[in-house]
């Protein structure tokens, strides 16, 4: 048997948690070779990050505990080494970057120092560490690297922060780079850039890259091999192409099936007159103009998707329509009445016609209220919809409608999983029998398979109840599957709008094209084409 650069053998780790002992990973094994990119693919709770933490000695004991297994790095079992030796390996031989670079960078120190520290912690003289930092900042594409060294993490954009993390990891040219969800929460275009940067760097240094992700697209784009994990076990291993075309494990197949962006596109029927007409919508924060004259119509029963990257102003549209913030200009006629001119008192009765489902159900459900209270509050606020005697029955009905069970009514939000919580939020929106539901990134925080289920649910409700949707998302494949029409926004303006087929099949605006090209597809072959297109656009 050839010696791998890094090999995990039969690793089991368990944690003390709220529910007692949980086996986070159960006898998993995989290996990584020099110059290779291995992806560990899994949804939340699959235990995909645990082995990385074990490699970096980042599992706190307690509450964690490694119960069995070996981690062989160049033949040495890391788990048997003393703390000092392991510390010395960290950063020098094996480096790691994380999701959410903002919280993983120390907010109170300049980034230059933080990057240099990676060298200084292993004895690199200060001056050399600084020089190396400057070199790396240039390499990872930070503008004005000299000045950037003295800046603090909060002064960079999300993508730049991830580049800083990468620079930090590469100071000592490690043999292995572990990247834990390095592109999650980044805009698609930035995601593509970060992934290609990693790829280039790997080619330059020949390091092994361990890519932990939940995104099939990332696997298709970047991985040489992938390990699929579910419930703390490795269920399947193979190249992306093999997995995509010949997955043997039902879980892998389920994951692939859930990947959005492959269904029929909807053909909007030439619909009745618009129920909502937005004209010249403006919002400024001081001198900053977040929205600059947005015009669009929404027809009854139509699903209008608003897509764009962070900072495009797409969420602001929703918040202005629902008067969570006050517009600085424009009008929004809802059945002929201007929502923006209503006093709070006049707005109250209109609110039951317009509802919203927020991005993060963990935060949008009051933690201290039971599901029954959360849903029935709608009727307490708007008396006359439903007599109190019928509340209980109606809550049960709504819960069944969104795929939960009536007995869930007595529980509190924290007792549910993310997908279940989003179903509760939808039930709450439905309680008011609205005509329009605005979904603000309503499925973005969910795992792929859950995402698919929720989208199915929304589609079903749309068909049954004739609801109109404004569907705000950054995730293009989901929009492709769900929307009738699409608005593409950039920097507070609509750059393009049209039917879903127009946008996806024949995008006119350059920005729309770039957006589509940057999106990742689960099919390695499709992804290879996208990549080519992206490179072409970049030229």
């Amino acid at each position: 048997m050839t010696e791998h650069l890094l090999e995990v053998r039969d690793l089991s780790v368990r944690f003390h948690t709220a529910r007692g002992m949980v086996n986070a990973v159960n006898g998993i094994s995989w290996h990584l070779d020099r110059g290779e990119t291995l992806a560990i693919l899994g949804e939340s709770g699959s235990g995909k990050s645990v082995s990385a933490s074990a490699i970096m000695n980042l599992i706190d004991c307690p509450p964690g505990e490694i119960t069995s297994g070996q981690i062989l790095f160049e033949g040495r079992d890391l788990l048997t080494l003393d703390a000092e030796t392991r510390r010395d390996i960290n950063g020098r031989r094996i480096a790691m970057i994380f999701q959410d670079p903002l919280s993983h960078l120390n907010p109170v120190y300049p980034v230059g120092w933080q990057i240099a520290e990676a060298g200084m912690a292993h004895g690199l003289p200060r001056a050399k560490a600084r020089a190396r930092t400057l070199q790396l900042l240039t390499r990872v594409g930070i503008p004005d690297p000299e000045a950037a060294m003295a800046k603090y993490p909060h002064q960079f954009s999300g993508g730049q922060r991830q580049r800083l993390m990468i620079a930090m990891a590469l100071v000592l040219k490690p043999d292995i780079l572990i990247a834990d969800e390095p592109t999650t929460a980044l805009d698609v275009t930035v995601q593509a850039e970060v992934l290609s940067l990693l790829e280039e760097l790997q080619e330059e240094t020949g390091m092994g890259l361990l890519l932990i992700t939940h995104d099939l697209g990332v696997v298709a784009e970047a991985a040489d091999r992938a390990v699929v994990m579910e419930g703390g076990r490795v269920v399947e291993t193979g190249t992306p192409r093999d997995l995509y075309h010949g997955a043997s494990h039902p879980y892998t197949r389920k994951l692939l099936a859930a990947a959005p962006g492959k269904g029929e596109m909807r053909q909007p029927d030439e619909a009745p007159a618009p129920i909502l007409q937005v004209r010249g919508l403006e919002k400024s924060y001081g001198p900053f103009r977040a929205l600059r004259g947005v015009d669009f119509d929404l027809r009854a029963g139509e699903t209008l998707a608003v897509v764009g990257e962070s900072g495009s102003g797409k969420s602001t549209v929703a918040r202005l329509l629902l008067r969570l913030e006050e517009a600085t200009g424009g009008s929004a006629l809802w059945k002929g009445e201007d929502l923006l001119q209503k006093s709070p008192r006049q707005m109250a009765p209109l609110r039951r016609q317009l509802q919203m489902v927020f991005q993060d159900p963990t935060q949008s459900l009051a933690p201290h209220m039971s599901v029954f209270q959360i849903i029935s509050e709608a009727w307490a606020i708007h008396p006359g919809i439903l007599p109190k005697a019928r509340w209980r029955a109606r809550v049960a009905e709504l819960l069944e409608q969104v795929g939960l069970r009536p007995e869930h009514a007595e529980r509190h939000p924290h007792q549910f999983s993310g997908g279940q919580r989003q179903r509760i939020a939808i039930a709450r929106a439905l309680a008011l029998e609205p005509e329009l539901i605005i979904c603000d990134e309503a499925v973005s925080a969910l795992d792929v398979s859950i995402q698919a289920q929720v989208i199915d649910l929304l589609g079903k409700l749309r068909d049954e109840l004739g609801l109109a949707f404004i569907f705000i998302a950054h995730d293009l494949p989901v929009v492709r599957d769900f929307a009738d029409r699409v608005l593409v926004m950039q920097k507070g303006e609509i750059v393009e709008q049209g039917s879903v087929a127009q946008i996806f099949d024949a995008p006119q605006a350059l920005y729309t094209q770039r957006l589509l090209a940057a999106g990742l597809d689960a099919d390695p072959d499709v992804q290879a084409d996208r990549r080519a297109a992206r490179l072409a656009l970049a030229k």
């Binding site: 960290n90 950063g91 480096a95 994380f98 919280s103 109170v108 300049p110 520290e117 990676a118």
Partner: protein, 304 residues
């Protein structure tokens, strides 16, 4: 920064003015200083004369107008009791209080931060338990009780320290020790909690992944971040000390502003009360400013 400073100064000034008006009128409702100042068998004529000399016979509103017009010229009036300018009386005491507060807070902060960090790093260890236990008991005992037991034990029985007063360094030990206890417990708990949070934070994970040693992880990466809530508490506690430690000053015969305050209140020496309030308010305002500056120095996010 300077516009914020200006705004703060204005709002503090308004609060102070309201405070002065309140204190001025309310304190005059608490009885006649002449009755307290003069012996019980003094005649009505003597009392009247006393009030006349000190302007206490005028209607309260007139008295107030006089006070404010004098105040504009930085004349804080004279102490009824001491026949000295009230401001001078207060500043005398305040220098003592300032020294006591600064030394105590410096020691408390150093000790609480050191011990709190250690406790946070060894959660559940004997050190952690000891620190928590000590801070708990310290925060629970009446300070005058501790003070007297301290004198009985360390001065009378053991003879190690002078009982009270000022003079040598040794005189400061007991008062500071008594004042030390409560803020120490409080700050220790905040440091510990804040350090535990900081140690569990993502950037510490990054530092470990970089291979940074334990000590720099605690003292470089964690401590500075954990200091932010701690500074707020230190500020609050220092403010409390600047207001004077009445009980401790009374027992140890320490000529601070707290003792001056209680004496002036009991003797209805209005000018001294008002001057003391203004001086301490100014000191606390300046200290809060220092805290803000410290905040900005520690956390670059606040600077921009």
């Amino acid at each position: 920064m300077s516009s914020m400073l200006g705004k703060r100064a204005v709002s503090s000034f308004i609060s102070l003015m309201v405070l002065i008006v309140l204190v001025f009128f309310l304190s005059r409702l608490t009885g006649d200083p002449a009755a307290l100042y003069l012996p019980v068998d003094a005649s009505e004529a003597m009392r009247d004369n006393f009030r006349e000399i000190h302007g206490l016979n005028d209607p309260v509103l007139v008295q107030f107008t006089h006070y404010i017009t004098d105040l504009v010229c930085f004349d804080f009036g004279d102490s009824l009791r001491k026949a000295r300018p009230a401001l001078e009386v207060v500043l005398d005491s305040f220098t003592w209080t300032l020294q006591l507060a600064l030394i105590t807070m410096a020691l408390v902060s150093a000790a609480a931060i050191a011990l709190g960090s250690l406790a946070a790093f060894h959660v559940g260890s004997w050190l952690d338990r000891l620190a928590s236990g000590l801070s708990l008991i310290g925060a629970s005992a009446p300070d005058f009780w501790i003070a007297i037991v301290g004198i009985v034990l360390f001065s009378v029985t053991l003879g190690w320290l002078p009982t009270s007063g000022t003079g040598t360094v040794w005189h400061w030990v007991l008062p500071i020790a008594v004042l030390f206890i409560r803020p120490f417990g409080l700050i220790l708990q905040v440091v510990r909690g804040s350090m535990i949070t900081a140690l569990g934070s993502a950037y510490v994970k990054t530092a470990r992944a970089k291979g940074v040693r334990n000590r720099p992880v605690i003292f470089v990466h964690t401590l500075r971040n954990a200091m932010l809530p701690v500074i707020t508490v230190i500020g609050d506690q220092a403010a409390a000390l600047l207001n004077g430690a009445v009980v401790v000053e009374t027992i140890f015969g320490f000529p601070g502003v707290g003792k001056l305050m209680i004496d002036s209140i009991l003797q209805r020496d209005f000018n001294v009360i008002l001057a003391a309030i203004m001086v301490t308010a100014l000191a606390i305002f300046l200290m809060n400013l220092l805290i803000d500056i410290a905040y900005a120095l520690l956390d670059p996010r606040i600077r921009t």
